[in-house]
Amino acid sequence: MAISGRPKLGRWRASGFPHRLWQVRWVRRGIQYLWRNNLTLGLGLSAFAVYAFLVFALVTIYRDIGASDDKFIRDALRSELYDFLLITGREIDGTSILDNPRDFSVMRREPSVVALRKSFFTYPLTKANARSFRLANVRIDLPRGCLLEFPLETSGEAEPLGVQAIQACFAIVPNDTSGNYVYFALRYPSTGVVPHRPGQPLTGDGVELRFSKEGYPEKRVRIVYEGVTGLPPSRNLPGRYDGVFNLVAFPDEASRPSTFVGGQAIQRIEEGDTSTTMTVLGRIDGSLLGLPMGAGTNDEFQAMARTLKLGFGVLRSGRNPFVVMPETKGVAKASLEQAYRTSVRENAQLTIKLPGTNEIWWTSSIVTQVELREGASSLERLGNSLLALVTNRGERPSVTKDVPIPGKENAEATLSLRKAHIPELASLAIGLLIAALFGLSLMVGLLWRTFVRLTQLTREAYGITKIPPVPKLKGAYKSRHSQIGTLWRAVSVLLRREIRRLRELHTEAAEHARTSQRERDALRWIGHRIRNPLQSLLEQKGMPDEASRQIAALQRAMDGLDRLSDIDDSAKVVLRHATSLDIAKALRGYAEAKNSPPDNPIEYSGQAAGVFVLFEDVALEEILDTLIENAVRHRRPWTPIVISLEVHEHSSQATPMVTVRVFNDGDPFEEPDRAFESGYTKGAHGGQGLGLYMVKAYCTHCNGDAFAENTKEGAAVVLQLPMLQINAFGVSPTVT
């Protein structure tokens, strides 16, 4: 397809609108201002872009992590809700503690009469089952919700020392067709039972129950155990009824047993236990307790029975080893709170509602809640706090399940998080991003400070760029009207100047090298021309002494010339051959080897070993030979030469230095600054004046130094070398 016509931009230009816009003064000024500050503007926009990106990242991370985490949380909540329902509905008789939230809600409660859907009461041994009766076959399953456990501490006097437990259950059954009874069950550790016989005093084994209600005196019922009678004996299994007792009750110290209380007790070793347990099952007719009786009084009977305050105790040979007062709280074997705590997370709330009426059947808000998990980092807490502000009003993850409630419609159990869920990873990421935002804000502040300085810098740079453009300066900004252009141009100009200066230096160095080489060649040529005639002169006989001395001096001068070149070459080799040298050990060894008192005493002071430098051992030997030779020459006779070693680890220098001082008692250096120049000698000892030159050359090539030092007592040559540090990987340069 052919495209005709000019581009849109071209048309826009052709319309003359840009030109007209440029004529507007404030527009022109504005554009010029922005252009002048283009670097600042660029940096500011970059910072803003980073800022915007971080905010975008913050939102995205929260949203994405939150979405994936939400599904995970819902699955976990569903699993927890199912666990809760399974735990609460696991009674053997098919009932659930969820049927009666009023009685079975809390985990710890005082003994009271609770309502059960079915009675647990039965006579284990009756005439009907007497022939097939086996004590081991008797199974007594008490409802866990009703059963309270009271741990009781025994003193160890008459009872075994330790903590034992007594379990108790008091219940009524609404709409009980057999009558208005309060059923009870007790289970406690037994040490043996002596059955009561009619006519005996009531001080034997048994239990005592106490019932009280406001405005009425306390009712006490003493129950003793009597052996089973009136059942057919068995020859094959004598004593088959041992362990089974009938309950005989005496209310309020009565002398005659009451017929309002019935039941049996069984003493045996329970399955999974080692000690003997007494289980008492009984029922008390409501009329004995003063409760409403008769037809049509069932509701009143229930209401009053629930208000009864209960207490009980165990009687054993005239003692009361176990007593539970009405205010004593026991732990329920099963409760809704217990089920909630074991199956549901800390920050989730469970609510069971009856549909239609919206009546809350049970809610976990009645139990104490725990706050956010421990161990969250400060960044995570920061993220949590900030997100909580934003998200607490949002939707909280929750799951719902129908629960059958007998006598009601299906209830609706809802498990939801107490607060809007904030994923831990998102919290942490957001905490980090907030920290980054804070850092970025700080950077923007610094940027502003830099901008002020940059403005000054730009002004100075503008001054530099006022010079005429450098020829062949390609790539440099032509503009001098903006920050970038000005700075770029200033850098380019300075760079060109520097390059030109370096080229000049390079040319000078090359010229110097060429001159030096020419001088060397000339010296070599002269040397060669001198040495051959010198050889002949040296061996001529009968030469005057003065001439011989002059020839010898000439020869020394020639040797010195070669030695000078040798030193310069060797100094380079010293650095190449340098290794980690224990200078303390070397100096000490040298002093010991060369020490020959009384003629030539040499002493060493300093560390015995363990001070390392990067140096060549041969060079150190050469240096010491030279310095000792010098010191011997200039010392006062018989005075010792002292080699000392010091380590300056805490000096102001970046690298710790090792200082070696070779001291001799004698005349000071006349010209300490010139002593290390080549050819400098003191006295007519026949030397070439290259010894100290060599010392300095070797040291300086190894990043050290050598200098002369005059003291009151004498003179010393001081060497300074960088120290090497010893670490786990061996020896390394100490650069701080």
Partner: protein, 229 residues
């Protein structure tokens, strides 16, 4: 028993005379021949086998440049002759050249009579010495059994001058033991301590040229040097 022969090549008669006296002082029975020009030198070299030769490097009338003497030194060295190159040219340049080209020792003019006598005596004595057998040497070091002054370190040939050869031989024979400075100084014609340190440095450099990690030669401060085992 045949007399040992010596060849002196130098274009200056005075120098030849000095060299002749020094050689005779070192070995009275020595049969000495002299050559003053390159032509005479060629004839003399072809005429027979020499035990020792003193060769000047720069000969007048040379046809192959300033270092024609080195060519003669190389030919003589190849025939089993011990050569000492004597020249007025700078030591640090020619010493290496003499070693590389002709495996020759080097002395710089002017040479004192006594120094030359010592140098010739030591050279003749070293001819009689046999290189140590392998079992005497430290691990990794080998000498050519034919005494051609070839040293091998870890299988690589190390370029050593006669002086360095003598030094390494003394150190290696006593490996693991301290060799005092005084003992090592016997290997040097100058007998000066500064030269000993310089030669040891060259020796280390020669070994490091074939093995950058070489560190077998150790200085025992103030006492001597040691070839560590």
């Amino acid at each position: 028993m045949a007399r040992l022969r010596c060849l002196i090549i130098d274009d200056e008669a005075d120098a030849r005379k000095v060299f002749r006296e020094a050689v005779l002082a070192a070995c009275r029975d020595m049969e000495i021949e002299e050559a003053g020009t390159p032509g005479e030198a060629e004839v003399a070299i072809r005429s027979g086998k020499y035990a020792i030769a003193l060769v000047d490097c720069n000969l007048k009338g040379a046809t192959t440049g300033n270092f024609e003497g080195l060519g003669f030194a190389r030919d003589l060295s190849a025939s089993g002759c011990d050569v000492i190159v004597i020249s007025g040219m700078p030591q640090r340049e020619l010493a290496t050249l003499a070693d590389d080209v002709a495996k020759a020792a080097f002395m710089q003019k002017p040479v004192k009579h006594a120094e030359l006598v010592v140098a010739v005596t030591r050279t003749l004595r070293s001819r009689e010495e046999r290189p140590p057998c392998r079992s005497e040497l430290p691990l990794g070091l080998e000498f050519d059994p034919n005494n051609l002054r070839i040293v091998l370190w870890m299988g690589h040939r190390v370029a050593v001058s006669p002086t360095l050869y003598n030094l390494v031989q003394r150190l290696a024979r006593n490996h693991g033991k301290l060799v005092p400075h005084t003992e090592l100084l016997k290997c040097l014609t100058s007998g000066q301590m500064a030269d000993l340190h310089s030669q040891i440095r060259h020796l280390k450099g020669a070994f490091r040229a074939v093995d950058a990690e070489f560190s077998a030669i150790e200085s025992i401060s103030g006492r001597g040097y040691l070839w560590t085992s």
